[in-house]
Amino acid sequence: MIGRSPARTDAREKIVGSTRYIADYVVPGVWQGITLRSAVAAGRIRTVTADAHFPHGEAVLVTGQELGATNRVAMVTDEMPFLATDAVRYAGEPIALVAAPTLHAARAAAHAVRIEIDPCTPLFSLQEAEERRRADPASVRVHAECRITRGDAAAALRNAAIVIAGTYTTQAQEQAYIEPQGVIAWPGQRGGTVIEGSLQCPYYVHNALVRLLGCAPEDVIVRQSPTGGAFGGKEDIPSVIGGHAALLARACGHPVRIVYDRHEDLLFTPKRHPSIVHHRTGVSEDGRLLAMEITVVLDGGAYTTLSPVVLSRAVLHATGPYECPHVAIHGVCLGTNIPPPGAFRGFGAPQVAFAIESHIDRIAHRCHLRPDEIRRRNIMRIGSVTATGQILRESVSAERVLDEALTASDFVRKWQAHGAAARQRHRRGIGLALTWHGGGFTGNGEVNLASVAALSIEDDGRLLIRTSNVEMGQGAHTALPQIVAERLGVPLERIACAQPDTSQVPNSGPTVASRTVMVVGRLIERCADQLADALEQAAGPRAQWNDFDGALDALRTAGDPLRFEARYEPPPGIHWDERTYRGDAYAVYSYACTVVELSTDTLTGEVKVERAIAACDIGRAIHPQVVEGQIEGGVLQGLGMGLLEQSTTHEGRFDQNRFQTYIIPTALDAPEILPIIVEDPYSRGPGGAKGLGELPVHGPAPALANAVAQASGRRITDLPVTPERIVAAGAGDPASPIRDLPSPSRDLPSPSRDPASPSGVGDEKEEA
């Protein structure tokens, strides 16, 4: 069964429109909830009151004042309130909630709520925060900070023949799932609640709600509704919105639905952390990395939320899949007054991938090497040691994906041809990026989660996979049954996944971090093995069974339990020290090589992406068609980040408040995408599988920037690579010299360097 692509069980209903998403639920007597928010980015709340016009009886009002000590959302730190009561830290922060039988009535009632806030001085940009902190470290809130040290980077940089420095920035990126955030809360028993909603992590919401409502865990039930896209965007915020709905349901005694409209969703829910990454790299003349000094600065916005974990993944991926004896990485996540960023597919890794993969091309240029040569010279192989001192022991396929992508794209020939082409107005370029992604939670995360998954035999003879991992389009509920089918040799039709419901499934952890197949799939595989053992106990060796049903009957007759559970066990020999950031950061890594081919109009700065190739090693493809879909979709999200998805703020509010201005790719913007599946099995993954979900997102943006650098002669170091930036960098100006154009042949002399580099163009410094 593994390696085949049976039809997805959920597809038909979704196409014909009969799948009911949360906004489609028919709930008699449901009230609609809305959120009143702060208009100022920083201030102190003076009053929150309902005036005499508030239609008590026909509407309810909930404020934070009533909540006391439970008013904290349980996340990495319990810092963010469900409803601000004293300080407000961003424009749009929830302060009060109103529910009424209709949305219209709720909005009308909201007019009777008065909120007064005394403003204070906000901090809006990461650049500003970085500067302020340089002057006075105590003046800026720090959500998280960490360092990785290997060898002595400072000394090695002093001794290096060539030192290349560069700074790279990325903006907030919106997940832009097409189904907006939504939940329904029913008043529950003994002060509890039942929550159903569009979410990735049922037990996160469960945990947060138990704390908020102060009730017993069994009195909170959280169910996932069919989820119309998430990409990380439904990891943390459903705990907040779920809490809001539950509070309103408790106040009015009715079920309450909160579904955000697109404006609210774009303006106030978490996005990818904006970043600034500084690199200083020492290299030998022949392109060997001698020392890397990297600073990763993330904008953590108003509250800590998931930032420490995002920062951690960012620093751990900052070197790229390259080995370097001397590494010093400093990561810091600063507080500002923008809505708190959160999880988005990649979780810190796409930002640092853009930086290192742009930087490595510049190093190649300086060393007169081709992009593939510089990478091969430093690439991680079996036995390589990472910045944290982890020795990579298996399934290290960086070079394999590189080769696959080079061959499929005919990279070397095209790169040389484009580099040697005459400088006309319309020019082509090809760019490369090599990336990696650690599967599962970082460091001891999986050990701490201690996930449990179960497999049960139902009365009708079906095998039911019970996990809290959700189907949100990525195909989890298609792949997990395949793992069981493979292990037990039973037809797929008799295996199903339970819809995640905290009263029915154990906590197998959140649906994040590319962990569902690799980590939870492995648990399910172990459950299947237990079942197989039990069947053999009851019905004798497999070879003697008449059929599976007969064996099941024997098991039933024996009165043995019909439910099998497995709990996470770390692979042997894995050690991680959170304090020193030394050890095995991830059990295993997946690798991808992305090649982007494009043409540019150097006068208008327009970029037409023609083809994107992504060779991804994911150990083993359980369902190749689903894998291809993940790669194709991930590549387009990465290209969107690279090219289109501008996200700017004005006084702490996002300017792009609607799909007319937050620009995601249409079918015409999407290039031909060629997914290449590479399989280098991982011994501890189900059937050999590693993580896939996030991997394809990292490479497209830097590969695109590298291709634009070749085509236009201009390197853009700030994402997105907009036409405005390409033109401002002087791409269309025939008088200006070509800067940072990768040299087509190693014999060319080093290009002349323009000391006064225009803004937005990387400043390459060379030190003796």
Binding site: I15, R37, D261, L267, I631, L644
Partner: protein, 522 residues
């Protein structure tokens, strides 16, 4: 409240609703058709696409009160039961095209219309057709492949070429005339006694103060005289967006002072949030058949004010006589928007980014504007008074757009730089009409969008070009002239420097290509 009877997925249904409620919400809440989804409520994502009288439209922007009695509506639920729909569903499944699925009911509607109408789909035309349906999960590859697969299957064995003629009747009619028999043998879908399906958040559920849907222009003018200042509702693709946005203003509270409202591209949010909106008086123009269609008289194209952008794209007289306008209509939104968007709506909305205005400005187009007492004629150029301001009187209606057709020796073109390759608002757009005489520029008109408070002509540049010989050096100078003559601003879509430079590039590109292709000059 008004009551309408429609044929929804082949079944007569009746619903009662406030006239301005978007069709999407009537379908979802009153008729239990929750196939169409709300992804944005503003025409941008296509998740709500349905076939209305055979044509794909974003149902979130169609005011239900404008949908006439007897209209046919097909949603994904119904389309999937038709032969072509079934084949599309199967192909999507086979190709593993579906991920989260939320975009697919809309995709199905768009795809159905595309395969019905397009004789020979290819990769490019398929992507163009889908460009109003955003999918964030898939990268579109498998969707496109599935659609091309259906197109191939459809090809009768042994014959090549005109693949698409068979399934479904011609556009503009009921999509199922031919397949209705098949449908009737199917069991009708369970018809829940209109449970109040959950609404996505909301519609503006308010009634307009009054809603009129006159059938004739005279009635409309009489109403307009009686209720001066009433909102004229044509396709609604600007008005519904504005009304929806006002009804959903984020509830931001505690601003230090009411006056501190910033920047241009940001609507005056707090103000709107604090006070309930005025209920508008609305006169719908969509039932007045006389306001649609194209006629040609003495070299002048008479385009009915309510002609849709889609009709502009497909009209043969316009293809000959006003190719720049056709190109602009093609660049407007995506197909589901083009069925709603009307010509007069685009002009009267008076956005500086209106794509249809520059081609009309270079053609020297005029407007016929009627009121109860009579009709006046005014050059389009004189119609604009400032940012989003026209000289339309409160009792007037634009009835006809008069466009001098291209004459022999004249050429024209349109180009747009948008925020992406489809479904995007212009950063800059340009139209040029030019005529050469004896190797010199004899007459030239240039108009631009998004470089000033209104769409504009460039009289100084035009003057400087007159009698010049087209050479590369002239184009270099033209770029400068254009850049000097425009006054763009920076906003959420682009910045002033870029716009200024691009105005020059677009105009010279157009001039060079128009002049070259005609005369081989350089």
């Amino acid at each position: 409240m008004i009551t309408r009877q429609w044929q929804v997925n082949g079944e007569m249904r009746e619903a009662t609703f406030p006239a301005l409620k978007p069709l999407l919400h009537v379908l979802r809440e009153e008729l239990a058709a929750t196939g169409p989804k709300e992804g944005c409520g503003e025409g941008e994502c296509g998740a709500c696409t349905v076939l209305l009288n055979g044509q794909p439209v974003t149902s979130c922007l169609a005011a239900a009160g404008q949908v006439r009695d007897g209209s046919t509506i097909w949603t994904a639920e119904g389309l999937a039961r038709l032969p072509l729909g079934e084949r599309i569903v199967d192909a999507f499944m086979r190709h593993g095209a579906v991920q989260c699925g939320i975009c697919f009911p809309g995709m199905l509607a768009t795809t159905y219309a595309f395969l019905r109408d397009e004789p020979a789909p290819d990769d490019r035309s398929t992507r163009e057709a889908l460009s109003g349906n955003l999918c964030r999960c898939t990268g579109y590859s498998k969707i496109v492949a599935a659609i091309l697969d259906v197109a191939r299957e459809r090809e009768p064995a042994g014959s090549r070429g005109r693949v698409g003629a068979q399934p479904g009747p011609p556009a503009g009619e009921d999509p199922t005339l031919e397949t209705l028999d098949a449908l009737e043998t199917l069991e009708t879908p369970p018809s829940p006694a209109a449970p109040r399906a959950a609404s996505a958040p909301a519609i503006d559920p308010r009634e307009p103060a009054a809603f009129y849907a006159p059938r004739t222009l005279d009635e409309a003018l009489a109403l307009r005289a009686r209720r001066p200042g009433a909102a004229l509702l044509a396709g609604g693709s600007d008005l519904l967006v504005a009304w929806q946005a006002a009804a959903r203003e984020p509830l931001l509270r505690g601003a230090p002072s009411r006056t501190a409202r910033p920047a241009a591209d940001r609507p005056a949010e707090t103000a709107a949030a604090e006070a309930p909106c005025q209920r508008p008086v609305v006169i719908s123009l969509s039932d007045i058949d006389a306001l649609r269609g194209v006629a040609e008289e003495d070299g002048v194209l008479r385009i009915g004010a309510c002609t849709s952008a889609y009709e502009l794209c497909t009209n043969p007289s316009l293809a000959r006589g006003a190719p720049a306008l056709v190109a602009a209509a093609h660049a407007l939104g995506a197909r589901p928007i083009r069925h709603l968007a009307t010509l007069a709506g685009n002009l009267v909305n008076a956005s500086p980014a209106a794509d249809l205005a520059p081609p009309l400005l270079v053609a020297g187009a005029g407007l016929l504007i009627a009121k109860a007492g009579g009709t006046r004629k005014i050059p389009l150029e004189d119609f604009y008074r400032g940012y989003k301001e026209t000289n339309l009187g409160p009792d007037e209606i634009v009835t006809v757009v008069l466009v001098p057709a291209l004459v022999a020796g004249e050429r024209e073109g349109f180009r747009k730089l948008g925020t992406r390759r489809a479904q995007s608002i212009a950063k800059v757009c340009a139209a040029v009409r030019v005529r050469l005489d004896a190797g010199r520029i004899d007459a030239v008109a240039i108009a631009l969008g998004s470089v000033a408070p209104t769409t504009v002509r460039l009289p100084r540049t035009e003057e400087r070009l007159r009698s010049e010989r087209p050479t590369a050096a002239l184009w270099e100078r033209t770029r400068q002239w254009v850049a000097e003559e425009v006054h763009p601003i920076s906003d959420v879509r682009s910045n002033a420097d870029y716009r200024r430079a691009m105005a020059g590039v677009l105009v010279t590109d157009l001039l060079a290509s128009l002049v070259c292709s005609e005369h081989g000059a350089q």
